[in-house]
Every structure is written in structure tokens, then in C-alpha cells.
């Protein structure tokens, strides 16, 4: 570890992994509810399990991004963090606020939670992914601003690199677009229109900048390739991301009551969204092939390459599958969307966080890389989780195709629930694959506790 203050990243990474476990457990609960409808009812209704599953995902990824920023920025800026104390204070505030929100979801009915937390002052709740109570949303803004202040001041007082710049752009964008979660017009078309400004412009816009910067940082470290080369690729990737991703928002505007030209704009631009992801894959492999050093942390390199491949498959290919308006007319909101969602989130944002954690955690614990034994276990967890997600995606895709056929294309269409019964076999297979994923995750955590001979101190 080059700068003492990088150590504040440690609690962020640990919290991220802890919440990740919670996310997977609720995923399994919900997966079972797909086939055993009254499982855990009325304790945990399906809508609550789903909310906890998706909200935990978002929160743990945010913990990961913040930890990554606290680790990367001092090293990039060649200076200590502006205020490690502020970073730690924000950690506890964010963790407690996040935990209280989840407890709120589970302990009281959602409508009661809305009443208790002053939703009538400014109605922001009840919208998918943005279900958080008003006070949590305000808390997120405060934490984000304090975090951005801390990181920006660090960059301002130190060396300014392209990686810092792209990371900052992504993080500021994340904060700015979150503000649309406070805007909830009564017109349903406008509501949906701006809801996507948070949801789409996060995951298919500014988060990709964060992803690019994190990947570039780790690749510089593990390959030793010249910074200029890596930064040039980073610029090309983020330009392509913004060119395709911003207007690509239109692929959500096909059927919500917006003008027809969105079907063209959305289809054309979002069809090109795989390009930056493909560039990322080429970039990762190219840099590793041209490496100038053999970094002892093989696991981190594996995660970095995995991010390149899986982000392209999940976000790029599976996104393209149903992004064209004439296709989406049939597939909208089916299990095909769920298939894409799972592989894209895992391939892009879960994996890049695990890449960063895999690279940084050994160094934060005082060694360049973990022992061979520990790395082998970590690689096992990589393959278990990655192959599981591939199969989950394939099963959900199969379920989705069948669903579209039975419910929407067929001459004698079945009702939604009748269709769900017909495709339950795929839901069972998805659930069991999810169990394998959880085993992979447990092995991943176990790899942190495997002793063995450490590689040279960092």
C-alpha cells in the first residue's frame, strides 16, 4: 500500500461482500417463490424479496465503487486522501442507513414505511429500484456529496491522471442522475421518462465510465503496460459509451407513450451499445497479452479478463437480443429481460468490483498477492459463480422465449399465470444453479481466510 489513507477502502470492500451475500440469499428466496408461490408468505412477500434483492445489489455495488475510489484515487493522485476521517464517517452513515432501510422493508408493510418516513412530504417511493424512503434518498445524496468532495479535493491537490478524471466524471454523473429519483411527476409518461434518467443513465452511461476507470487501473497495475496506451483505450471506450448510451436511453421509450421516433433512435443507438463493451474485451486481452511483468496476483488478472468477456456477453450480446423495437414489441418485460439483467449486472459491475477487491485486498492486508492456495480457491469461486450465471442466463432465456411464444405469439395465447406454470421447469433449474452460485460465493469468502505462504510484501 503506497498511501496510508488507502486503508479506508477496507471496510467498504468488506461491507460490499457482506451485502452481496444478502443479495444472493434474497435472490434464492425469490427464485423459490417463482415455483412455490407461498414460500415464506406472509413474512416475506415476493415484492419485498425482490426489492431487497435489487436494492442490496445497488447498495453493495455503490460500496464497491466508493471503496475502489478511495483505494485508487490516492495512488493515482500520488497524495494522501483529503480526509480519511470523513470517509470512515460516511461509511458508517451509509451502512447504518442502508441496514435500517432493509429492516424497514422487512419489518413493516411498504405503505406503512412510506407513511412513517414522510413520503407525503415529497412522494418519491413506490417506483422500481427507487423504492427507498425519502430519508434514505436524502442520506444517499449527503453521503455521495461528502464522498465526491473528499475524492475531488484529493484529485485537485495531487497529480491529475486520465483514470482519475474518468472515475470522477462517472461518480459525479452517478450523483447528478440520482437527483431524478426525487422528481416524480403525476403524468405517468413523464414519470417513466425521467425514471430512466436515473436507471438507464446509471447502468448504461456513467457506471460504464466507473467500470472503465477501475478496469484500466487494475490493468496498469497487473500488466505494467504503459499508462499512455491504456489511457488512450479508456478514452475511446468512454466516448463510444456516451455516444451510444445516452441516446440509447430511447430503447426504454418504445411503449411508454413517447413519440414514435424514439423507436428509431432507441433501436439504432442502443444496437451500437455492445461496441464499447467489445472494445473493453479487446482492451483487457490485448493489455494482458502485452504485459511487461508477471504480477503474482493471478486471480485479479483472471477477474479482469472475466469482466471483459462477461460484460460483453451480458450487457452487449444479451442486451442486443431484445433491444430492437420490433423484437422488443414481443419480449418487453419477459424473462428475457431478467436473463439480460442477471448476466449484465454480474459481468459488468459485480465482476469489476470483485476485480478491484481481488487486486486491492491483499495489498491492504500487507502483501502483494495472496498465497497460491488462497488464489486457487478464489479462481474456483470465479469459475463457479461465472458458470452459474451463464446457466442462470441460459435458463431464463429459454424461459423467456417460451413465455413470449405461449403468451404473446401463439394463436391461442395463454394467460400470464398459466404461462408461468408451463415454464416452471426452467425456474427450478435456475434456482438450483443459484445454489451453486451461492457455493461459489462462499468459497470466494473462504479464500480470504486461507493461510499459506504469502507473496512478497507490497
Amino acid at each position: 500500500m503506497q498511501y496510508k489513507s488507502q486503508a479506508v477502502a477496507t471496510p467498504y470492500f468488506i461491507a460490499a461482500i457482506g451485502l452481496f451475500v444478502g443479495q444472493i440469499i434474497f435472490g434464492l428466496i425469490m427464485g423459490l417463490q417463482y415455483v412455490i408461490g407461498d414460500f415464506l408468505f406472509p413474512m416475506i412477500p415476493f415484492n419485498v424479496a425482490r426489492m431487497v434483492h435489487t436494492n442490496l445489489l445497488i447498495v453493495w455495488l455503490l460500496f464497491g465503487f466508493m471503496g475502489a475510489a478511495y483505494y485508487m484515487i490516492p495512488e493515482e493522485s500520488e497524495t494522501e486522501l483529503f480526509s480519511p476521517k470523513l470517509a470512515l464517517a460516511m461509511f458508517w452513515i451509509f451502512l447504518v442507513a442502508g441496514a435500517l432501510t432493509i429492516v424497514g422493508y422487512l419489518a413493516v408493510p411498504y405503505a406503512t414505511l412510506a407513511e412513517l418516513t414522510g413520503n407525503d412530504l415529497l412522494e418519491t417511493m413506490g417506483r422500481e429500484f427507487l423504492e427507498q424512503p425519502l430519508i434514505t434518498k436524502v442520506g444517499i445524496v449527503i453521503v455521495a456529496l461528502a464522498f465526491l468532495f473528499n475524492i475531488s479535493m484529493t484529485v485537485l491537490k495531487g497529480r491529475k491522471t486520465s483514470i482519475s478524471l474518468v472515475m470522477l466524471l462517472g461518480l459525479w454523473g452517478l450523483a447528478v442522475f440520482f437527483l431524478f429519483s426525487f422528481y416524480n411527476p403525476t403524468n405517468l409518461v413523464l414519470d417513466k421518462f425521467f425514471w430512466w434518467w436515473t436507471v438507464h443513465l446509471w447502468v448504461e452511461g456513467v457506471w460504464e465510465l466507473i467500470l472503465g476507470a477501475m478496469l484500466a487501473f487494475v490493468l496498469i497495475k497487473v500488466t505494467g503496460v504503459d499508462r499512455e496506451v491504456i489511457e488512450k483505450w479508456l478514452y475511446v471506450i468512454i466516448t463510444l459509451t456516451l455516444v451510444t448510451g445516452i441516446i440509447g436511453t430511447g430503447h426504454h421509450y418504445f411503449w411508454i407513450g413517447t413519440p414514435e421516433y424514439w423507436q428509431w433512435w432507441g433501436s439504432v443507438f442502443s444496437a451500437l451499445e455492445p461496441i464499447p463493451f467489445f472494445a473493453m474485451t479487446v482492451f483487457a486481452f490485448n493489455m494482458v497479452n502485452r504485459r511487461r511483468r508477471e504480477h503474482p496476483n493471478k486471480a485479479a488478472t483472471l477477474w479482469a479478463l472475466g469482466t471483459g468477456v462477461m460484460a460483453f456477453l451480458g450487457a452487449g450480446v444479451w442486451g442486443f437480443l431484445h433491444t430492437l423495437a420490433p423484437v422488443n414489441y414481443y419480449t418487453h418485460g419477459t424473462q428475457i429481460t431478467a436473463a439480460h439483467g442477471h448476466m449484465a449486472f454480474y459481468g459488468a459491475y459485480v465482476m469489476v468490483n470483485l476485480t478491484m477487491i481481488s487486486y486491492a485486498m491483499p495489498i491492504l492486508r500487507g502483501r502483494a498477492a495472496n498465497s497460491n492456495k488462497s488464489q486457487v480457491l478464489e479462481m474456483w469461486s470465479f469459475w463457479l459463480m461465472t458458470i452459474s450465471i451463464v446457466f442462470i442466463t441460459l435458463f431464463l432465456t429459454a424461459a423467456g422465449i417460451l413465455q413470449v411464444w405461449l403468451q404473446r405469439v401463439s394463436e391461442t395465447p395463454l394467460s400470464f399465470m398459466a404461462t408461468q406454470d408451463k415454464i416452471s421447469l426452467f425456474y427450478w433449474m435456475r434456482e438450483w444453479t443459484g445454489v451453486v452460485f451461492l457455493i461459489g460465493l462462499i468459497l470466494y469468502i473462504a479464500s480470504f481466510f486461507v493461510k499459506g505462504e504469502d507473496k512478497a510484501a507490497a
Partner: protein
Amino acid sequence: MDTQALAIESPASERRLPGDLAIWFFICAELLAFCVFFAAYAFTRAKHVELFNAEQLALDRNAGALNTILLLTASYFVVRAVQAAEAGLRDKVAPWLAAGFLCGSGFVAVKLVEYADKLGAGITLSTSPFYMFYLSLTFFHFMHVLLGLVILAVLWFQARRGNYGPDNGTAMNNLHSGASYWHMVDLVWIILFPLVYVLR
């Protein structure tokens, strides 16, 4: 990428991409975007041939032709700037780039007059499939002209400092990259103009 190293290794006669590999990756992606749009135009036109033919007549072909001349001339000036830099005539680079910039600005002015005319007539993206494509395609291209002008302005600024000469590999790489981008903008218009304004 490492184009300088590449240039040293390969014999001088060998053809290679002018400018940076990164800019070519970007140019190809841009061309692909326009290709998809052109293909979408073709498919939609096939469904509404009558409508497209009728509404096409309402476009100002003279303005389109004038803009074609302006862009081609701008590209010619950019070529002269690159040639001047390669020949080591440092003080000639900036004036040629400035001339290119002026022609590009002329395109923007003509295009704005056209837009004002169409918007004044109450035409929007929702008027008809033809106008949806006319406005989308030309506006998407218009944004590229603006970016191209920004790039030319940066190159001009550098050229005034006498940065571009055969002995400065990095600077020449930037000049070639910027010039390649400008030619892409030009190339797209050469397809766009006949496709949308003329072909029936």
C-alpha cells in the same frame, strides 16, 4: 497505439493508417452508426415510396449542394494543411486549417437556415417518417460537423504555435488523426446528401 514504433519497423513505402489506431476505431464505430441509420432509412422508404418522393421535393436541394461544396472544399484545405506540415512549411499549416474551419462554419450556417425554415413551417420529428429521418440523420451529422470544427480549432491553435512539422511525430499523429476525423464527416455527407435530398 504505438504507431511511431510501428513506423520505424516498417519500410517507408508500406501503407499504414494515417493517425492513431484509436481514432480509426472511433471512426469505424461512427460509420457503423450512420450505416445502420442509412439502412433503416432505406427500409422505411421502401414502405412509403410515394410519401418520401413527395416530401423530398420540399427540401432545399440548392442549400444541400452548396453545403456539399463547402464540406468538400473544407476537406481540400485540410489536406493542404497536412501536406504543408509534412513538407515542413510550418507557417502555412494554420492558414489552411483556418480556411477549412471557415468552410465548415459556412456549412453550419447554411444548415441552421434550413432548420429554421423547416421548424418555422411547423415540421417536427413526428410530422412523417420522412421528416423523422431527414431531421435525425442531418442533425446527427450536424453534431459531427460541430465536433469536427472543435477538432479543427484545436489543430489550428497548435499550428499557430508551429507545432506541426515532419520532425514532430506525436504532433503529426494528432494532425493526421484530426484530419481523418474531418474527412469522415465529409464522407458521411457525400452519402447523406444524395440519399436524402436527391435520390428518388
